[in-house]
Amino acid sequence: MVEAVLFLFALGSGCGLILSFASKIFYVYEDPRVEKIEGLLAGANCGGCGFAGCSAAAKAIVNEEAPPNACILIGPENVSEIGGIMGAEIGIAEPLKSYNTCDGGNRATDRFYYLGLNSCRALASMYQGKRDCRVGCLGLGDCVKACGFDAIHLGPDGYPVVDKEKCVGCGACEKVCPKPILEVRSISQRLLHLNAEDDALAPCSQTCPAEIDIPRYIAHIRNGEYADAVNTIRERNPLLLACGRVCPHPCETKCRRGLADDPVSINQLKRFAADWEMNSNKRLPIPCAPDTGKRVAVIGGGPAGLSCAYFLRRAGHRVDIFEAMPKLGGMLRYGIPEYRLPKKVLDWEIDGILKLGVESHTNVRLGVDFDFKSLIAAGFDAVFFSVGAWNDYKLGVPGEDLNGCFTGIDFLAKIGNETPVKIGKRVAVVGGGNTAIDCCRTLVRKGVEKVYLVYRRTRKEMPANEVEIVAAEHEGIEFVFLAAPNKVVGNEDKQVVGLEYLRMELGEPDASGRRRPVPVAGSETILDVDMIITAIGQSSDMSFRGKGDRLDDVRVTRWNTFDVDPATCKTNVPYIFAAGDAATGPALVVDAIGGGRKAARSMDLFLKGKPVEAQPKQLLNKHIAESIFKSVEGVTKKKRAEMPELPVAERIHTFEEVDLVISEDNAQNEANRCLSCCRLCYNMDVQISG
């Protein structure tokens, strides 16, 4: 009797003491929710949930690998309490959701008639799949069987449809799917996924430098789900209002519809969706991942900087943008004139990004107002350079410094900044790019009598967007082709009075594939102008380098851009990344946006301590060969929606926006022209409504 009591007394107190001290000595930090949830689990460690004990199950629940009802022992109250712990802090945890990337279903052609086991996995392991398409959904529904939460069913077209409400992100479907179709990803994983060779991508999406899922948003527009369309675009491009207006839409060149009649007017649809959101006067919510506690400095608040900041912020990092100009937007604000992208539209868009919690500091120039060392000292974990290309090339002819000579970007920036500029009566703009055209069209609106565009090749070789050239022609700009400026003629007041140029003729094609212009001897001609704007190209201003800090170690190319790995946007200094014009040289806004996202992915990896490596099978805007067709069949021809614009007579006197948004009906019609392409399949004969 006594022994028994004493023995158990000793055993009980011994166990208690040892364990409680051990729990202090061997204390390891854990997510506090793990302990809370473990407290709600049965503690029987029976393994019925398939995890290794209750603490493992609790961890899995916290990591969103298991649903709150994983434990088979506890009652509904505990389940809802666990749900509460997870749900009450929903802003902190990023839920994983299953996404179906293939909606090919029954329109994907079969290679053979399959009579075997009713299982995707069996079919895939024996025959690699019956579909013509390498990634196409087999539609036998392994994912449906694997889903323990009844969240997947096969849709009417025989491809899986995920019920986002029921999906808990357990990943069972992704595991059984033998193809890369069902993906269980968190928001940031989705945001930062770059196009890969295995993805189910339409030609347009492959072409888009921002990698927007174009067929998906067009399908949303077709179905009248405009908010979903906006969200789909925003997964890849935070500047949809701007892009919808200024993007030269390279995607449309690869549109399969273009093989049958005209390409779908993708960009107008994007603009339609974007304007729908702005005009609805309420912003769609943009969820962000839980705070990671890492800080990033973004140098340059242009499209690349804004895009990178936006994606990093959504991935949970804290971002500060440093901008040399008075306002954010970079070239969008200072390079693109008001009539193409109204400032209030841009402000609304940038505001949306800042509202996510991105800090901005304007009127501060790196190397002048602050230096790199102070940035690092301030505790930033990584720095992103998107300083753009703001230095105009010089013509290199005599008289270039006379009064009345301007450079393109400088001029546009001054106009954008509303700095007073003395504008002449007759102006020559040198160059054939978009900047030159922007200058011309701006000058027209400033009341200039005559605007010449002086270009040393022909119209065919002009790098500017076709629509812009056409618009400029409409607005009465005179093109002087095959003319190379030779000298700026000035008077005794050092005021420009003319531009002397040499006539050229086209010779052999050069490295860029354009025929090289050759001067015709003795063909000097003088153009009677009192103002000259040279817009023949830009490079980055790297004057912040050479201050004896780590920036000096960053390699720079001979074109004065950051030498970055194109797949990751990382420089040779681990914590410095760069994208946009500062890394690629002058390029499209949408290139900068895509670059910003690519850099954000690398920086996210870097900030999370993972190796910064290129994503496997990254597409990098190459095309998947099998998806580029020579012709499409089964398509009824239908005209493309025309873009409404202000009449010329009206627009040349004002900076009112020229291009207008298409009507909802037109948007619907245009969306219906989309073939909903994927890698190989497309909707043969689109039912045209209305």
Partner: protein, 197 residues
């Protein structure tokens, strides 16, 4: 939302009947169901422990510090298991012998800890008793039915009485380990069919 005590009792008999609905406590289920007698004996022993541990834990639920609650539950359960062990030794020795080490092993039966944690630790005394009793009886019924099937086919007897007459060639497979697994598997299947799970 609040269930009546009767409901707490009856849920263990069908809706959540262990080990079929709650696939737990398999070891004793498989090991002691060579005969109806063994099954019932084990069932009663488990019910006894379940009933008293549920009751005691329900009484102590506000005293036990949450961090060591599992350890406390284990002590309570182990105590009642030992009580059962001693009582069975003293009064029903034949069954005790048949059940062997599975009596002390009641202590690690997940059902007990499971009920303690999931139910008794947050409910009042009466519902906890009802829950324990219901689950226990459900468990007993399961064991008895499994035992009956295995005994009838394996030995040709039911509760020791011959069913098929002396000429019956016993299907020994059923009372051996493989038979136990297969039999339980098929019964689960039947339950799924019946319950339309």
């Amino acid at each position: 939302m609040a269930k009546t005590i009767a409901q707490e009792f009856t849920k263990g008999l069908w809706n959540e009947i262990p080990p079929f609905r709650l696939v737990l406590g398999l070891c004793p289920t498989l090991a002691v169901t060579k005969s109806v007698e063994g099954g019932i004996g084990m069932g009663i022993a488990t019910t006894f422990v379940l009933l008293f541990s549920n009751a005691l834990i329900s009484i102590l639920r506000n005293i036990i510090p949450p961090k060591v609650r599992i350890a406390c539950y284990i002590i309570v359960i182990a105590t009642f298991v030992t009580v059962v062990e001693l009582l069975m030794q003293a009064y029903t020795y034949a069954i005790f012998r048949q059940l062997g080490i599975f009596i002390p092993l009641i202590v690690v039966n997940c059902i007990l800890l499971g009920r303690a944690e999931a139910f008794a630790s947050k409910n009042k005394l009466l519902p906890s008793i009802a829950d324990g009793l219901g689950m226990g009886i459900g468990f007993t019924l399961s064991l008895a039915s499994l035992g009956a099937i295995r005994e009838i086919f394996g030995y040709g007897t039911f509760y020791g009485m011959h069913v098929f007459g002396p000429s019956f060639e016993p299907f020994t497979f059923m009372v051996e380990a493989p038979g136990a697994f297969v039999c339980l598997g098929l019964m689960l299947c039947l339950m799924n069919l019946a319950g339309g799970k």
